[in-house]
């Protein structure tokens, strides 16, 4: 029999031991002993076994004066750079050479130099998948030229360029989820061998003291290697084909007459058929609502026949853009629309048969695109000012 006194003593002991036994996380670290990483860039070096790692450390955000003091001069970032054989090695080196520890959780962006992307990114992303601090939700991007340039350059837009790029991609994702590629999206496409991973490409433009960051398109991967790219306009073809686009603009032109149509809530249905002899046909039907955003010319038309006309032009434009983007991917033999994944889901048995021949089949796929827009409105005015004369 255990007496009550003993039981209470035992209970007390257990309570006192619990925190120590169950946790063991004595890794308390004050914020002033941390480096908040606001960007990681990975570049290639001359030696293929080495990797050039650059990290941007944010010191303060612009406009947050905090204590009411005047803004101190000097840079609001610290840039660490090293060449090491692994990324972890580089991080260890950074930690060793400073009194602070790198805080990776808040890292908003991972950048790859175009050279690294062309050589293959597989060996450089293991850490980002394995490490607890590194989040899978962090967006990734390719940088035209050296990735480190994005982090080192003082931007006019935001001194914390890493945060700025992340914000930029975040905004793009509001247009279409396909435009922002997170580590998770990239890796899940990479794991489906036949599907081509995509990654947005950004570039640093401008002079030394007036640098700006711009998106220049989407990179198409074959496996883990960058093989080709779509420019900004062609990227639209990609996102339209993938569907679920919340809003975008279509530019139509007929001679000197121009119009921009604002399309919202585009839905794309895809129909993939496969015949017994392995001929794959894809039909994309896009549906969305549009309104006139800006118009120039069309002086010889009346509002009644202008709207169907614009609609036809826009539909044609969309069809063309999608087809063009698809043709580029067929040329690269990279299945960026994830048609193979659709096949695998819908026709698993047939897919098993043609799986090995996919590289031969992909360039031969027949694509038919169907666009169906509804003109919802013309904006606050109906006809353009040039049209008024025609009315009289």
């Amino acid at each position: 029999m255990i007496t009550k006194g003993k039981r209470i003593v035992a209970l007390l002991l257990i309570f006192m031991m619990l925190p120590g036994l169950l946790s063991g996380c004595w890794d308390s670290r004050e914020i002033d002993k941390l480096f908040i990483v606001t960007g990681i860039a990975i570049d290639a070096t001359d030696d293929p076994d080495q990797v050039d790692v650059t990290m941007q450390i944010g010191k303060e955000r612009k406009g947050e004066a905090g204590l009411g003091e005047a803004q101190t001069g000097g840079s609001s970032t610290i840039v660490l750079n090293t060449v090491n054989d692994t990324i972890m090695g580089a991080i260890r080196e950074f930690n060793r050479n400073s009194n602070r520890k790198l805080l990776l959780q808040h890292n908003p962006i991972r950048l790859f130099g175009i050279e690294v992307a062309e050589h293959g990114v597989k060996k450089h992303i293991d850490l980002f998948l394995r490490d607890q601090q590194a989040r899978l939700e962090v967006p990734v991007a390719i940088v035209e030229g050296r990735a480190a340039d994005v982090l080192t350059g003082t931007l006019d837009q935001d001194p914390l360029s890493g945060m700025f790029v992340a914000g930029l991609l975040e905004d793009l994702s509001k247009v279409s989820v396909e435009l922002q590629v997170r580590m998770l999206d990239f890796v899940s496409r990479l794991l489906q061998e036949t599907v081509a991973p995509m990654m947005p490409i950004i570039a640093v433009v401008g002079e030394e003291d007036k640098k700006e960051i711009k998106t220049v398109g989407m990179g198409i991967f074959k496996g883990d290697k960058l093989v080709g790219r779509l420019d900004n306009d062609q990227s639209l073809g990609y996102i339209w084909a993938m569907g679920d686009v919340s809003q975008f603009n279509v530019k139509v032109q007929e001679g000197i007459d121009k119009a921009i149509l604002h399309v919202s809530k585009l839905k794309t249905k895809r129909e993939v058929t496969i015949s017994d002899d392995g001929v794959v046909k894809v039909k994309l039907s896009m549906e969305g609502g549009a309104s006139i955003a800006e118009m120039e010319g069309f002086g010889n038309m009346t509002p009644q026949n202008l709207i169907p006309h614009l609609k036809d032009l826009a539909q044609e434009e969309m069809k063309q853009t999608v087809t063009e983007a698809f043709q580029i991917s067929q040329g690269l033999n990279a299945d960026m629309l994830a048609i193979s994944a659709t096949l695998e889901q819908r026709h698993p048995k047939k897919w098993e048969k043609i799986k090995d021949r996919w590289d031969e089949i992909y360039p031969t796929i027949e694509l038919t695109v169907d666009a169906n827009l509804k003109i919802l409105g013309t904006g606050q005015i109906i006809q353009s000012l040039e049209m008024e004369e025609a009315m009289k």
Binding site: K4, E30, I31, I36, E64, L103, H106
Partner: protein, 549 residues
């Protein structure tokens, strides 16, 4: 549970010591008692006065006024009272004047044995006049502010009620102010206080029991409760605990509270108090027992539930929706006041990933260059705040203002711009401190617990905070107040009507289950009339029915 063990151990030890103590001293005490009883009243006025003065140590404020009265001024007598404890007009009009005038034109003088009875019944004009034969009783009467009349040749004296002394009038209580609701508060006078309660509850069932506590102070302590509503067992328990008190003095109700509370080692109080008659009346109506102590405006009520700290008088005077909102805000505020510094420390030293990036930069900038770890920083700030608060309470009012200005400047601005503490920490401590005052009766527990919670937070992060919270809940759930679980109102659905939300009064038809016994119904459920002139219709119906019958 832990405290229970400690208390039992202590109780055993003290009772053991008392037994030893008593066996040594019992003989001594008995002789003392006998000695006091020895002094008996004599026939001689002179002797009696001498003895009475002796008992009262011949104190300088003891007034002895010798008079002669009767038709031929044949009786000599003395009135004895303490200066300042009696009401002079009552003395003059009620005792002196009738005595002097009595016997004018009377032929026969009564004999000595009848004299006291006649004086008591026919002459003295006062609300209460009692005849006492023991000198100790006469002395006790003097000490209470009564006047003693001794007549030469009579075995005994009259104790005449002439109580009257300077007292504070009924004013608005400083500790519990309301926007809407009665503004009267208790005073230091026991009788005033009981009358204030009785004026709220004009019911014969409101029972008052009076006890004297304190060997030296002889303080009057009153229990007030509603017979048939209060749980008799709890009443008995309160009576027992108070009667067991063996103390020298009771100067404030806090003395009683400390001696009768269930968990003396807990940061949480298990006896509630109030300075407002309406609050005490409401609690009595819920079946609680009020303990009114002479000499203090703070009236104790037992049993206390945890939820009581979050209820204010005004909750029941404003409309229920707003009252419920305030209730919820008070709960959140209490949570903030206990946990905000702990959570801030945990986030700053462990869980940087939980802070939004932009906020993290702000924190980082503020932390830059501050010399102490965030835990020490929090301790310093809390300590400084407690010093300022205490200073504000204790200092005379004009100086207090200066202190608060200096405090605000030093704490709020100078400390931050000098780089001793970070601005976010100042904000955290400020909101913590302000939130603490939303729940006045838990301010003390809150200011202790917030320091306690900071330790696990600094060691284990949010895990530690969760651990501390759990520990606090376990402790709270283990508490009892006079046999009623501290969390009683959360344990059954019916009593939930007055916890997180305050149900409309017309829906709260039953008294709290855990407290009251017997008559549980407060009223009948009804929904207030929605149709206009419903009462007119009702009367018409009544009239029609009357006509038909």
């Amino acid at each position: 549970m832990l405290f229970g063990y400690l208390i039992r151990k202590l109780r055993f030890l003290t009772s053991y010591r008392n037994i030893q103590h008593q066996s040594g001293n019992s003989a001594n005490e008995e002789t003392k008692v006998e000695k006091q009883n020895e002094i008996k009243i004599q026939k001689s006025l002179h002797e009696n006065l001498k003895n009475l003065k002796n008992i009262l140590c011949d104190s300088q404020d003891l007034n002895v006024h010798s008079i002669r009265f009767g038709s031929e001024s044949q009786f000599s007598a003395a009135i004895v009272f303490f200066d300042g404890m009696i009401d002079n007009p009552t003395l003059t009009d009620g005792i002196l004047r009738p005595l002097m005038l009595w016997g004018m034109g009377k032929k026969e003088d009564p004999d000595d044995t009848d004299l006291l009875n006649i004086l008591e019944q026919e002459v003295v004009c006062a609300s209460t006049v009692t005849k006492e034969e023991a000198l100790s009783e006469l002395a006790a009467g003097c000490l209470c502010g009564e006047t003693v009349l001794l007549v030469d040749g009579c075995m005994g004296g009259l104790v005449i009620n002439t109580k009257g002394w300077e007292k504070r009038s009924v004013t608005e209580p400083a500790s519990e102010t309301v926007v809407r609701g009665p503004r009267e508060g208790f005073t230091e006078n026991l009788r005033t206080n009981t009358s204030l309660i009785r004026r709220k509850i004009r019911n014969g069932q409101l029972k008052l029991e009076q006890l004297k506590v304190g060997e030296k102070t002889q303080t009057t302590v009153c229990l007030m409760y509603l017979e048939g509503v209060a749980n008799p067992k709890i009443v008995e328990e309160v009576q027992y605990r108070i009667s067991q008190l063996d103390v020298e003095s009771i100067l404030e109700s806090g003395y009683i509270e400390e001696y009768i509370e269930d968990a003396p080692f807990s940061p949480f109080s298990t006896v509630d108090y109030s300075e407002k008659p309406d609050v005490v009346a409401a609690r009595i109506l819920e079946g609680r027992i009020a303990i009114v102590v002479d000499g203090t405006p703070f009236v104790l009520t037992v049993p206390m539930l945890f939820i009581e700290s979050f209820q204010t008088a005004e909750d029941y005077y404003v409309r229920p929706m707003y009252a419920s909102l305030l209730r919820i805000i008070r709960f959140i505020a209490y949570f903030i006041t206990v946990f905000a510094p702990a959570v801030y420390i945990a986030l700053n030293s462990f869980h940087h990933e939980l802070i939004p990036t932009t906020l993290l930069f702000t924190f980082a900038k503020a932390r830059e260059g501050t010399p102490f770890p965030v835990f020490v920083e929090a301790l310093i700030m809390i300590f400084a705040f407690e010093i300022l608060r205490e200073a504000g309470v204790r200092l005379p009012r004009p100086v207090g203002q200066a202190i608060s200005i200096v405090g605000a400047l030093i704490m709020g601005d100078a400390a931050v711009s000098a780089g001793i503490v970070g601005a976010p920490m100042v904000i955290t401590i400020a909101i913590t401190a302000v939130a603490g005052f939303l729940v006045p009766s838990q301010t003390d527990s809150g200011s202790m617990l917030r320091v306690v919670m900071m330790i696990p937070a600094a060691v284990l992060g949010l895990y530690g905070v969760a651990f501390g919270f759990l520990g606090m809940l376990v402790h709270l759930a283990s508490l009892e107040s006079f046999g009623v679980p501290y969390f009683d109102s959360f344990s059954n659905t019916r009593d939930m009507q007055d916890t997180l939300i305050r149900a409309p009064l017309w829906a709260m038809t039953r008294r709290p289950k855990g407290i009251a016994r017997g008559d549980m119904t407060r009223g009948h459920f009804f929904i207030p009339p929605l149709r206009p002139f419903a009462s007119d219709k009702h009367q018409e119906d009544d009239a029609q029915e009357g006509g038909e019958s």
